[in-house]
Symmetry: C2
Subunit: 416 residues, 2 copies
């Protein structure tokens, strides 16, 4: 295809200073235009989306995959209304929650500013194209979008609509860049452009994440897998535990904050497991258990070492009986993905121990791990859930799309 | 040497959970022991340091380099007292400045926790070995230290003292690891151990920083160069501007927050530059100027494109005359290292424009850039000054050596 990746990154890097200094009103004006143009151009978008659907059918994509790919009138309306929601969120740029006055009179304020140019590499639904672009614009960042090849026509159309909205608002189309290529080499090239791009966010399967981590010279914030646990402690409220464990596994099994492994204290297993298993059975959940589990609920398949490391994203659950809260914590820190893990207990000391010692982005007492989400945490919309430890951990909202600078107000101070 | 880098990283990764859950009192106890043992073992440390000094002389290191390397009784006392200062700083672990109660009753607190295992690769003085180890311990992080080969005997001795203090306090010696190798390949191997190491901080020259950035699969926070500017606006207070520009260049020219390039508005240049130049002359500063500068102060050498990109770290200064605050901002964003830059002006609008639009870790009005420093900013001790944009930007203190987790207190909440 011969796309000039370097030129595109340079254009974004040049445009970013204009975007960084825009007022919130001006940025909201662009978002409003994007929402409006999405609705106006829906038939064009649907027409382009049909090409992807046709190609997907030819390639033999599953029904679920084709459904994820599909854009229709109603879905486009939903995307536009998500844009208007982001428009109504507070703008983090220019805010501060840390200011000091030093003994020498210097006033030093730590102020949120845009990160700069953000590259987002994703495989998922075409609505991510709009979501990611709009979250970056709202937080004052130029963005380079690289979507999956199966959605390339849809993504191209959606970016064309964004650029139309930018132009008609009188702003640079370079704020939003589309890496219009299905070549692997284009991504490799992007990942080395640390002179122009300030952050790479990969969202997708393990292969994508691993490729980006291995090859990027640009800082990366990974949105990797969620291998989440619930630990039913010996002093759990059994009825409540059943409700929470049911919710964590069944309510939406295909997402990263759903439970994949259930840990049960040996002293409550005899009472808890048969009741829990019968609930799961009704929902069609396949259970795989350790030896002790299978002594209590023998209908269960044997879990292997591989199961403890697997994010099923499906109605499958592995179960392990443990001897103590310490064993549960060690197991979670060893096999988990440091995403979201819960203890269900009425025991104060065990709850505190679990919260302190489990090394995950979100640790819960007596609630479903399904709440790990920007909206549910009160951050507003999210660009994803970081499984990294630096800068952003857990749900990544507008604030996490900013960095800061120190603004220093002096009146002649020099250093002695 | 055949050092097992992987084993060392694994040991640190295993030890980190014990360290993360330690109380502040317990960590301070270790720090106090380290300070005490440093003083007790000073003759051993000095003896080992002598080997490095002898080797350095043989290698023909400059007098300045040998002085940086030298440890004597008094310097060791100073290092020990720096350890006691860090001991007295507040511990960030467990603190929070963000907690919400959601409509469904979930209480969600964003709590600071250690990052995990931090690898620090440095070239500088042996005191960094102690500083870095102690800052990491205080913030609950296990640390892998890799110092420069010219200080290897000193560093080995200092780490032995730390390990002695750890053992005698009854804690694991694995909290602090020393990469005891002068082989390049040992660093390469470390940079790929993302399964065990959570952050790499390179401190040193451009070659080191660049090698680490290109080769690390672990997140990196760079402590790279400082190419700092002062811009004397047309409405500057000339006497104040002279004092500040003198301080920024002359007070300590060899550090990253010293000024390297002076920008002067054309309307004030005729009055300001001759006075300024005569002050610099007294201090022995070599000046290099643009064509317009040389018309006003003809004794000045010609500055080339290369000068605008050079961090002299010496008594050399490049000078450029600009037509407007906008030109100054664009110049700084193009040639600067996004470290520390100042405007000197009495004009409110220009000051605000400069603070908003200069894309640097620290932006100043009417003060010397020399203040960019953890101590001067009120952060206490610093592990260095980040020239990266993510997680930590500018002075990096104890708080920046932590990440956070979301702690969620529920009473049976499930997601609908």
């Amino acid at each position: 295809m011969g796309i000039d990746v370097k030129k595109l990154a340079q254009d974004a890097a040049e445009a970013r200073y204009d975007l960084a200094k825009m007022s919130t009103n001006a940025k909201n004006g662009i978002l409003s235009k994007i929402a409006g143009y999405l609705e106006m151009r829906s038939s064009f978008i649907i027409e382009q989306n049909k090409k992807d659907i046709a190609a997907g059918k030819e390639k033999g994509l599953s029904g679920a995959m084709l459904d994820r790919l599909l854009l229709d009138e109603q879905r486009i309306k939903k995307i536009a209304s998500a844009v208007r929601e982001i428009m109504n969120l507070p703008d983090p740029v220019g805010t501060s929650n840390s200011q000091v006055r030093r003994p020498n009179g210097l006033v030093i304020s730590k102020v949120r500013v845009p990160i700069g140019v953000i590259g987002i590499i994703y495989e998922s639904r075409p609505n991510v194209t709009i979501d990611a672009a709009v979250l970056c614009l709202k937080s004052g960042n130029a963005v380079i979008l690289k979507g999956g090849s199966e959605a390339i026509n849809s993504n191209r159309a959606l970016v064309a609509v964004i650029k139309e909205a930018l132009s008609s608002s009188g702003y640079s189309k370079d704020f939003v860049q589309f890496l219009d290529s299905t070549e692997h080499s284009a991504v490799s090239e992007l990942l080395k452009l640390d002179a122009y791009v300030n952050l790479i966010i990969p969202r997708g399967g393990h292969n994508l994440i691993s490729f980006v981590t291995q090859n990027s010279t640009i800082p990366v914030i990974k949105h990797d897998m969620g291998l989440c646990h619930n630990f039913v402690d010996e002093q759990a409220d059994i009825e409540q535990a059943i409700k929470i464990c049911y919710n964590a596994k069944v309510q939406r099994p295909g997402v990263c904050n759903a439970m994949e492994t259930l840990l049960v204290h040996k002293n409550i297993a005899q009472e808890f497991l048969p009741k829990m298993a019968s609930e799961y059975e009704k929902a069609g959940v396949e259970l795989r258990g350790c030896e002790e589990t299978r002594r209590i609920i023998p209908q269960v398949k044997e879990a292997t070492e591989e199961d403890w490391k697997t994010e099923y994203l499906d109605l499958i659950l592995s179960i392990k009986i443990v001897n103590s809260v310490d064993e549960a914590i060690a197991f979670i820190n060893k096999y988990g993905s440091h995403h979201s893990d819960a203890i269900l207990t009425e025991n104060y000391a065990n709850a505190m121990k679990f919260l302190n010692e489990v090394d995950s982005a979100a640790v819960y007492v007596n609630a479903s791990t399904r709440f790990t989400d920007g909206g549910e945490f009160g951050l507003g919309a999210e660009i994803g859930i970081s499984t990294d430890r630096l800068h952003a951990r857990g749900p990544m909202g507008l604030e996490e799309l900013t960095t800061f600078k120190y603004v220093v107000y002096g009146d002649g101070q020099i250093r002695e």
